[in-house]
C-alpha cells in the first residue's frame, strides 16, 4: 500500500526536483543571488531527485539500460563534443580574426599609427559621441560609427556609444556638451573633446587622453597680478578650480626667479592683470619662451603701464591706453562694461556662439591683421556706438564723452590672437582686461531676453584658449582619406523606370515563369 502511494508521488518528486533545478539556473543567471541560496535550492533538488529515483527504481533501471537510452546518451555525448569543437573554432576565430577591406578608398582600414596607438592602450577609454539623431547629417554620424567600430576591433580597452542629444539631455549637461556632433574621449577623470570625425582627430584625441601629462599653466606673480589663491571677488581661485576640473594645473610663477628659461613643462604662461610694469629681463624671458613655440595669455588692464608695448608691437598688436565706453553693448546701462555676443572666427571663440561674455573695464587694441610674420586675428569688438576714452579724469568725474581726434571711434577690437608660422609656432591671446575672470564675475549669472538664466561665457573663453594652447601639435599626422561617396545621377523619368521595373517588372517576370512552368506540367 505504502509502496503504491509512494509510486504515485514519485512523479511529483521528480517534477519538484526539476522545478528546483530550473529555478536555480534562472537565479544563477540573474546574478544577484547569494551562493548559499543557490546551493540550497540545488541541494533540495538533489534530495527530491533521489527520492524519485529510489521510489521508481525499477522503472528507472529499465529506461536507463534501454536501447533508446544507450543511443541517446551516445548522441548526447557526441553532441556535447561537437558543440565544444564548434565553440572552440569560433573562439579561435574571434581571437585570430582576419579582416579585409574591399572599399575603393580603404575607408575601413586604419593607418598603422592608429593601430599601434590602440594596441598600446593600457587603460580603458570610453568614447561618447553626442549627436542630435533627428537633425544630424546621417552620413557623418554613420562614418563616425564605422570608424569607431574599426577602432574597437584592435583593442578591447576602447568602448564607444552614440548618444542622442534629444533623448538624453541630462547626460549632455553632465558632460557639458554644447554642440551637435561633440565626441568625448574619457579615461578615468580625464576628458578630451573632439568635433571632427577624421582618423587623425580621433587618434590624436585618444593619444592625448591616454597620456598622463597634465597641461600646466603658469600664472605670473610679483606685479600685483590677480592671484590663483585669492578667493575674494577679485581673485582667481574659481578659475583655478575650473581649470583643475578640466585637468589643467594652474601654478604661480615669479619670473624674477628664473635664471635660464621658463619651466620646460609649461603649456602656457598667463599674465593676469598686473598693476606694475614688467622688467625688460622678464619680458626677455617671455620672448625667448615664445620664440621656441611658447604660449602666452596676456591680460593687461586699462590705465596700467605694463612694459609690454614694444613687445606687443613686434607681434602686430598695439594696445591703446584707453577705456572703452560702449553705450550700445554696455551691461545694465554701464557703458564701461561691454557685453559681447558675437565673435570672429577663431579656435578660442568657436564654441562661444550664443554665449555672452562681459569685460568690466577693457582697453581697446589695434590688431594688424596684415602682418606677414604672424597670423593676427581679432576676436571680438565693441559696437559702432563705442569709443575709447583717453581722458581718465573724465572717467573719474563721470563726464566721459567721445572726443573726436583723441578718442578712437568704435567698433573697436577688444581681443586678439597671434600665431606664429612654421614649426614651433608661438600662440598668444591678448585681451585688454583681466577682471572678466575674477571670482566675482566668473560666477555671475544673467538673464536672456526670454527670461532664461544663463552663465556668462567668460570662463569658457579662457578654457578655449587653454585648449588651444595645449592642443598645439597633432601628436601624429594621418593623411585624410578622400570622401567615400558614389553618387547616383537619375532623372525623374529614370527614377520612375527604376521604381516600376523593380517593383512590378521583376516580380512579374518571376510569376510569368512560374505560370509557364505550371501550364507546361498540365
Amino acid at each position: 500500500m505504502i509502496r503504491q502511494r509512494l509510486l504515485e508521488w514519485a512523479d511529483y518528486f521528480g517534477a519538484v526536483a526539476l522545478a528546483l533545478w530550473v529555478a536555480t539556473v534562472i537565479l544563477f543567471f540573474l546574478g544577484n543571488q547569494p551562493r548559499e541560496r543557490l546551493l540550497l535550492l540545488a541541494g533540495l533538488g538533489v534530495i527530491f531527485f533521489a527520492l524519485y529515483l529510489t521510489t521508481k527504481f525499477a522503472a528507472v533501471r529499465n529506461v536507463v539500460t534501454s536501447r533508446g537510452a544507450r543511443y541517446g546518451s551516445n548522441a548526447l555525448l557526441m553532441t556535447a563534443l561537437f558543440l565544444g569543437i564548434v565553440g572552440l573554432v569560433n573562439f579561435l576565430g574571434i581571437r585570430y580574426a582576419y579582416r579585409y577591406d574591399t572599399t575603393a578608398n580603404k575607408t575601413f582600414t586604419l593607418s598603422p599609427l592608429t593601430i599601434q596607438t590602440l594596441q598600446e592602450l593600457k587603460e580603458p577609454v570610453n568614447v561618447l559621441a553626442f549627436y542630435s539623431f533627428s537633425q544630424s547629417n546621417p552620413t557623418s554620424k554613420q562614418e563616425l560609427d564605422d570608424r569607431l567600430r574599426e577602432y574597437t576591433h584592435y583593442t578591447d580597452k576602447l568602448n564607444y556609444k552614440m548618444i542622442d542629444l534629444d533623448a538624453e539631455p541630462q547626460l549632455a549637461i553632465d558632460y557639458k556638451v554644447q554642440y551637435d556632433g561633440t565626441i568625448i574621449f574619457e579615461r578615468g577623470t580625464r576628458r578630451e573633446n573632439v568635433f571632427q570625425i577624421d582618423e587623425q582627430s580621433l587618434t590624436n584625441a585618444l593619444l592625448k587622453v591616454s597620456s598622463d601629462k597634465q597641461p600646466t599653466l603658469y600664472f605670473t606673480t610679483g606685479h600685483g597680478e590677480r592671484s590663483l589663491d585669492d578667493s575674494s571677488d577679485n581673485g582667481l581661485s574659481s578659475l583655478k578650480n575650473g581649470l583643475e576640473l578640466n585637468n589643467y594645473k594652474a601654478v604661480l610663477l615669479d619670473l624674477k626667479t628664473i635664471t635660464e628659461t621658463i619651466p620646460a613643462d609649461a603649456t602656457a604662461l598667463v599674465v593676469a592683470g598686473p598693476v606694475a610694469a614688467f622688467d625688460p629681463a622678464e619680458i626677455q624671458h617671455i620672448q625667448n619662451y615664445l620664440a621656441t613655440g611658447g604660449r602666452l595669455f596676456l591680460m593687461l588692464d586699462p590705465g596700467v603701464q605694463t612694459g609690454f608695448d614694444d613687445f606687443l608691437k613686434a607681434y602686430g598688436v598695439t594696445l591703446r591706453n584707453d577705456l572703452v565706453y560702449d553705450p550700445k553693448f554696455g551691461s545694465f546701462g554701464r557703458p564701461q562694461v561691454p557685453v559681447i555676443n558675437s565673435y570672429k572666427f577663431s579656435p578660442v571663440t568657436q564654441n562661444l556662439t550664443g554665449q555672452s561674455t562681459f569685460f568690466p573695464g577693457i582697453r581697446s587694441l589695434i590688431a594688424d591683421t596684415s602682418n606677414i610674420s604672424y597670423t593676427v586675428t581679432s576676436l571680438f569688438s565693441s559696437s559702432d556706438a563705442s569709443w575709447g576714452e583717453t581722458d581718465f579724469d573724465s572717467i573719474k568725474n563721470q563726464t566721459a564723452k567721445l572726443d573726436e581726434g583723441k578718442d578712437a571711434k568704435g567698433p573697436l577690437d577688444l581681443g586678439a590672437t597671434i600665431e606664429g608660422r612654421g614649426d614651433k609656432a608661438m600662440r598668444m591671446v591678448i585681451i585688454g582686461n583681466s577682471g572678466f575672470l575674477a571670482n566675482g564675475n566668473l560666477r555671475v549669472r544673467g538673464m536672456t531676453s526670454s527670461g532664461q538664466e544663463v552663465t556668462f561665457g567668460n570662463g569658457l573663453l579662457f578654457l578655449n584658449a587653454a585648449r588651444w594652447f595645449a592642443g598645439q601639435e597633432n601628436l601624429i599626422t594621418i593623411p585624410p582619406k578622400p570622401a567615400d561617396s558614389h553618387p547616383l545621377t537619375l532623372t525623374g523619368e529614370q527614377m520612375n523606370f527604376v521604381m516600376f521595373s523593380s517593383f512590378a517588372l521583376l516580380p512579374g517576370v518571376i510569376l510569368i515563369i512560374g505560370a509557364l512552368v505550371w501550364w507546361g506540367r498540365r
Binding site: 546574478g31 541517446g72 579582416r99 567615400d484 527614377m495 512590378a504 516580380p507
Partner: protein, 238 residues
Amino acid sequence: MRNVWTITWRELRAYFASPLAYVLSAGFLALAGVFFSFDIYFSREASMRNLLVTIVFIFLLLAPALTMRLLAEEQRMGTLELLLTAPLHDWQVVVGKFLGSLILYLVMFILPMVYYVLILVVFGPPDYGPLATGFLGLILMGAAFLAVGVFASSLTQNQVIAAVVSMGILIVMWVADAFTNLIGTGLVSDVLNFIAIPRHYPDFFRGVINSTDILYALSVVVVSLFFATQALQTRRWR
C-alpha cells in the same frame, strides 16, 4: 556525394513545380524593389548598404516558409522511412535537402537582385567591393537561416509548427544580445553577444570581409544540420 545531389535535385524539382517558390520570390522581390527604389531616391548613393540590412531581415522571416516543408512533409506522408531505409545516410538526406533550399535561394532570390546591381552600374558607378561582399554576406546569412529552418523541419510532422519553431529560433538569435546588460559580463553574456545575428552582417555590407563572420555563418549551418541529423536518427531507435 552523388547521393546528396540526388536528393538535392529531387528537392529542386519539387520546389520549381510548386507555386510556393514563385509566389514567395515575387513577393520578396516586390518588397525589395520598393525598398530599393526608396533607398536610391532618398540617398542618391550608388550603394546597396542600407537596403541589404532590410533584405536580411525580410529573408529571416521568409526562410522558415521555404524550409518548413523539407523534412516535415516527408515525415507526415510517411516517405521519410523509405528515405531512411534506402542506402542513404541520414546526413546525406539532411544536407541534400539543405542544398536544395540553398540553390533555390540563390536562383530565385539572390540572382534577381543582380538587376539592382545593374541599375547601380548604369547610373552609378558604385563601389564594387562592398557590393560583392554585401552579396556574399547575404548568401552566408541566408544559408544560416535556411539551415535553422531545416533543423526545425526535422523535429515535427507539421509544417506550420516547423515554420513557427524556426522563426522562433531565428528571432531569438536575432535579439540574443538584448539582455546582456542584465546578465553582466562573463562567458554567458559573451556567448549571447556572439550568437546575435545583427553583429555578423554589418561588416559584409560595409565592404569588409571578416573571417569571424564567415566562421559564424558556417558554424550555424553545420550545427543546425548536425542537430537535424540527430533528430532524424532518433527515429531509428524510437
